[in-house]
Symmetry: C2
Subunit: 254 residues, 2 copies
DNA sequence: AATTTTTCTGCGGGTTCCCGCAACGTCCGT
DNA sequence: ACGGACGTTGCGGGAACCCGCAGAAAAATT
C-alpha cells in the first residue's frame, strides 16, 4: 500500500507522515507533496489510491487538487485534514466527491487517536469518516432549513465577484428579474436586513455589498472559494467573448 | 528572562517552544497561550516583555492581542510569526506598533536559523527584524506609488462592510460627494475597470462589489481584517444610536 | 389529468450609485 | 501675491439596483 500526503506545512507534513506509518503498518511507501500541483502529479505518476491532504494550500488548493485526482481516478480514497470547517470548504468538498467514493474530513484539532482511526477506517475498511463538527456544518448547509440552495450559493458567488445583475443573467441563463428574485431570497436567508442594529433607518446598508460581507463573516465564502470562482469566471468570459464574435449576441433578448 | 508564546496550533507551539529554548539559553521560563485572549491575560499577569505570536488565531487574533498588549505596556517586544504576508496583516501590524517599539515579523516558511536569529536580534539586541517578503509588502503598501492611502483603505473597508455612501459620509464626517470621490480613486488604484477581459461593454461589473472582490483576491482584505472592521462598526453604530437620542441628528446637514 | 406550489418573467417606480462639471478652500513654491 | 496642485462639496443626469405586483411557465403533488 502507498499513501500520498499533500500538505504545505512542513511540521504538519512530517507529523502526518509519522501518523500514517504508525496507523498503517501495511503501508510500505509514503509520498509527500507540498502543494496541489505537485500532489496531482504524484497521484498520477504513482497511481496513488490513498491520499491525505490539506485544503488550504497555495498554489492550487486541496479542493482543486482533489477534483482533478477524482476526475482521473474516481475510486481514489481521500482524507481531508484541515484546520477549518468553514462552510465554504465543506460545501466545496461535498460538491466534488464522486458517486460512492470513500473519503474523510477530519480537523487538525482532532486527537492523534481520531486521526489514526480515520486513516484505518477510510483506507482499510472503506468507510467514510466525517468529523462531527464538519458533519454538523454539512447538514446545516445542505438541509434547506436555514441552508442555502445551490442557486442561492451560486448567485452569492456571482455578486461577490462583482458581477452586475445583467451579467449574472447572461451567465446563468436567466432574466434580470429572476436574478433579482434570487438576490432577495439570498438577502432574507442571510438576514441582511437586521444584520446590525439599525434602530433608525439612517445606518443603512448596501444590501448587495452587505450580503457579501456577512457571507464572509459566516465563512460561507472564503479566499479560496473566491479564487476558484474567479478562475471559473475568467474561463466563462473567455468563452463568451470568443462565441460573441461568431454568433448573435442578443440571443436572450426575445 | 521570560518568553510568552501565543500560537493556536499545538505542533507549531511546541516547535516554537523548542526554538526559543535553543536560541535563548538565558531564558528561564517559557509560557504558552493558545489564543489571543489567553495571551493577553498571561502577558498582563506575568508582565511579559518578550512575546512571540501567530497572527491568525480564533478567538481574538494576533493583531488585536498585540494592540492591547502594547497599549498596556508599549515597551513589550513582539515577534510576529505568521504563515502569510497578506497586505491586510502587514498593514494591520504597521498600524498598531507604538513609537520606537522593537518588533519583528518572520514567516513560518523561514528556516530554523532565521527564526533563531530573529529571536536573538529582537529580544537581546533590541533590533527590529522584518522578513524580506514582508518588508517588500510594507513598502509597496505604504509607499504611495501604487500603494493605498489611509483614506482609501478606510473607504475600502467601509464598502466591504456593506455601508452605503451616505452611511460612510456620516461615519467619516464627509459629504456624500467626497465619499464618491474617494471611491473613484479606489477604483482606479485597484484597476477595477479592466480587471477582467472586458472586450465588449456587456461583461460589466458592479464597481463597488468588484473592488471588494479584487481587494480580497489581492489579499488587501482578509477575514480577520473584516472581523475587526465589523467590530469597530458595531461599536460606532452603538455610540451613534445612543447620541442620536440626545443630540440633533441633523448636525451635518448645514 | 388536474391542482397546487414553485420558479421565471415583464412592468413600473423609488432609491442608490457612478461620475462629469464647476465652485470653493487650503497649502505650496517660485 | 499669484498660480497651481489637491481635497471637499453641490448639482444633475444616466445607469444600476431593490422590490411589489401579476401573469406565464415549469415542477411537484394529488
Amino acid at each position: 500500500m502507498k499513501v500520498l500526503i499533500i500538505e504545505d506545512d512542513p511540521l504538519h507534513r512530517s507529523y502526518l507522515n509519522e501518523a500514517v506509518r504508525a496507523a498503517l503498518p501495511e503501508c510500505e511507501t509514503v509520498l509527500e507533496a507540498e502543494n496541489g500541483h505537485a500532489g496531482e502529479r504524484l497521484a498520477r505518476d504513482y497511481r496513488s489510491a490513498h491520499v491525505v491532504m490539506d485544503l488550504q494550500m497555495s498554489p492550487r488548493n486541496g479542493i482543486e487538487a482533489a477534483r482533478t485526482i477524482w476526475k482521473e481516478r474516481p475510486e481514489t480514497r481521500i482524507l481531508f485534514w484541515s484546520n477549518y470547517s468553514d462552510e465554504a470548504y465543506v460545501r466545496g468538498v461535498s460538491r466534488i466527491v464522486p458517486q460512492g467514493a470513500v473519503y474523510g474530513y477530519v480537523l487538525k484539532s482532532a486527537s492523534d487517536d481520531r486521526l489514526r482511526l480515520a486513516l484505518r477506517s477510510i483506507f482499510i475498511e472503506s468507510q467514510c469518516v466525517i468529523d462531527r463538527e464538519v458533519r454538523g456544518m454539512q447538514q446545516k448547509s445542505l438541509g434547506n432549513a436555514n441552508g442555502f440552495t445551490d442557486a442561492e450559493y451560486e448567485i452569492l458567488v456571482d455578486i461577490a465577484l462583482g458581477l452586475t445583475d445583467r451579467a449574472i443573467a447572461q451567465r446563468r441563463n436567466l432574466s434580470v428579474r429572476s436574478v433579482q428574485n434570487r438576490l432577495q431570497q439570498l438577502y432574507e436567508k442571510l438576514d441582511v436586513y437586521r444584520s446590525l442594529g439599525h434602530d433608525p433607518d439612517d445606518g443603512r446598508f448596501n444590501l448587495r455589498a452587505r450580503a457579501v460581507a456577512v457571507a464572509f463573516l459566516r465563512k460561507l465564502l472564503n479566499h479560496s472559494a473566491i479564487e476558484r470562482a474567479e478562475a471559473d469566471l475568467a474561463g466563462w468570459l473567455a468563452r463568451q467573448s470568443a462565441s460573441s464574435r461568431d454568433a448573435d449576441p442578443f440571443l436572450r433578448d426575445g
